[in-house]
């Protein structure tokens, strides 16, 4: 029985993960992160990885909204900030524990998603991008207007911890990231996401096909808001301070940099982007003056030569798509692993 199960898992593992080089690499990286606390107790490093896990969820939620549904938002920090503030306020003012404040923060972000979907239903394209930019700025104005409640410029501090020990927090955040990004990946490859995709390509055609685009647009905003909100509340409990920086434009723009650097419409691309860029920026603190400049230089050079983003570039290099069944194959294969079509001759395509 167990032997059977083990064999089945191994077969699935072989078929789903080992068959594709990019998935193998991602899997290896995940295992390495899980094993990290066993080989090092460098608190700084663990803290960076833990923070990166939070941002990874945040970046992936951005991809869900922007990559898959084409609602290019410039104000994604709205979700992150609103959730962070909600979690912090509930925790500080009402003494609610983390396992309640985190979903509550996410819920607040879902509501923010509803709010943000209003302009999205009305205006399109670049107009929407700018309308979305406005939201966090207006919210920030409100936060500054009520310093008594929100702590104003100083923010809120003294939020309770996620877990008793550092290692506990590390695993909590890492596992949360795996679960949340896997969920997003499932959503992004589901039939519903196909409709998001279709809306991105041509909303009018989707509407005349009898699909209620309004419903799906609101849905994708709420979904993305939920995950970004999870990231925001985790952030509040991990850093234990929440300030206006969570709503800052930089916070919105940063996630775009991570996402596009990593490669959009993949969910894991932005995760890769965060895990490359965030630690890079942190470790550049050894040369504080040159930190942002070097960071900017690396991003510019990378995007200039890989405008499709790192993960997409590597995927195109290592894998090719079967023209018939659209399954991916490792680049060495001459015929498709699923339908045995000859793919030796056709070009590498995304």
């Amino acid at each position: 029985m167990f032997a059977y199960l083990a064999r089945k898992i191994w077969r699935d593992f072989q078929g789903e993960i080992l068959a594709l080089p990019t998935r193998t690499i991602l899997f290896a990286a995940a295992v390495a992160l899980l094993l990290l606390p066993l080989v090092t107790d460098d608190a700084y490093l663990l803290r960076i990885v833990a923070t990166a896990s939070i941002f990874a969820v945040y970046a992936a939620s951005w991809d869900l909204l922007v990559g898959f549904s084409g609602q290019t938002t410039l104000g994604h920090s709205l979700f992150f900030g609103i959730a962070a503030y909600t979690a912090a306020l509930l925790n500080l003012r009402f003494g609610l524990p983390a396992f309640l404040t985190i979903p509550a923060g996410a819920l607040a972000a879902v509501l923010a998603g509803l709010l943000l979907s209003l302009p999205a239903l009305r205006v399109r394209g670049p107009y929407f991008s700018l309308a979305s930019l406005a939201m966090p700025i207006i919210l920030m104005g409100l936060i500054f207007s009520f310093p008594g409640l929100t702590g104003g410029e100083m923010g809120l501090s003294g939020i309770s911890r996620l877990a008793g020990t550092r290692t506990g927090e590390y695993y909590f955040l890492l596992i949360s990231m795996f679960v949340l990004t896997l969920l997003m990946w499932k959503i992004a490859t589901s039939r519903t996401a196909l409709i998001f995709h279709a809306i991105r390509e041509d909303e009018i055609v989707v509407r005349v096909s009898g699909i209620n685009t309004t419903y799906y647009k609101i849905l994708v905003f709420c979904c993305s808001g939920f995950f970004a909100g999870m990231a925001g509340s985790l952030y509040a409990h991990f850093l234990r301070v929440v300030g206006p920086s969570t709503l800052d434009i930089m916070m919105s723009l940063q996630v775009i940099i991570w996402g596009i650097f990593g490669g959009v419409v993949t969910i894991y691309g932005p995760v890769v982007g965060v895990f490359i860029l965030y630690p890079l920026l942190e470790y550049l603190r050894i040369i504080p003056d040159w930190r942002m400049l070097i960071f900017a230089g690396i991003v510019v050079v990378t995007l200039r030569f890989m405008p499709e983003g790192i993960s997409n570039k590597f995927q195109d290099l290592l894998e090719r798509q079967c023209p018939r069944c659209k399954e991916r194959n490792i680049f060495m294969r001459k015929e498709c692993r699923i339908c045995c079509t000859d793919i030796g001759t056709c070009s590498r395509v995304g």
């Binding site: 107009y127 309308a131 930019l133 700025i137 003056d289 930190r291 510019v300």
Partner: protein, 299 residues
Amino acid sequence: MIVLQKGVRKLWELILINGLIIGGQYALLALGFSLILGVARVLNLAHPAFYMLSAFTIYTFSQVLDFNLTVTYILSLVFMIGLGVVIYQVILAPVRAQTSTVLILGLVLGIAAQELMLIFYGGQFRSLTRLASGTMQLGDAVISNQHILALSAVMLSLLGVWFLLFKSRFGIPIRAVAQDREVANLMGIPESRIAILTMAVSVALAVIAAAMVAPIGVIDPLMWLHPLVIVLTAVILGGLGSIKGSIMAAFILAFVEVSLVFLAPGAAFLRGAVSMFVMLTVLMFKPEGLYGVFMEGER
């Protein structure tokens, strides 16, 4: 960057003059930004950073290297246009099909420029030498000559761009490329060279804004961030692709901002939020901006 004007007492005069000048500054930047967006379809977020860089270039030439002002302006113009064109040609143009990548590249380039200036000059406020000293009596208001100069320079530049687009021999090819790049090619119009020309004009407008308006206030490496938000807002508020619209919107936003600062000084920190609120409200009623047209085939 709000500029208090000594010698003028009435509130509405303050609002009018500062609104016009700040509006003019925003209008120059928004105009440059929407020109390159319209002609090359490049959303150049680094544009306000060119403004900041121009201010520092002028500072370097005139106050560090001690050139006289004419030489300074000519050198700054040449240097900045060169820089802008090289950045466009080497970094932005090759990836312009990927709009989101262009967006990020522009942003990151702006950050790079800011960091570079922070390394060279530090974060403190500096001021450029004023071009004109003294004041002038206009009715019962007293206005400094620098303000008059800035205002006339802004208006002249706006006129100049209008002339370029509608009267000069470059007008037709530029507008043709903006309306249909593909067909412009078929008419023998070298679309990529027209884009470079437009980039040069767009940077020149940033240099003019820096040379004329920046001496009124202070300069620092972060001075491009607020204009970035405003320029984006103005271009959208005015309607993408509409030059008239973005200029109007720039002035509207400036007046909203200035009025807030003068009428409710305690709420000055809300100026960003209020501008945004204005834009959001307009968009809810006019989803394509004030003068917008949806670009054909690009919905």
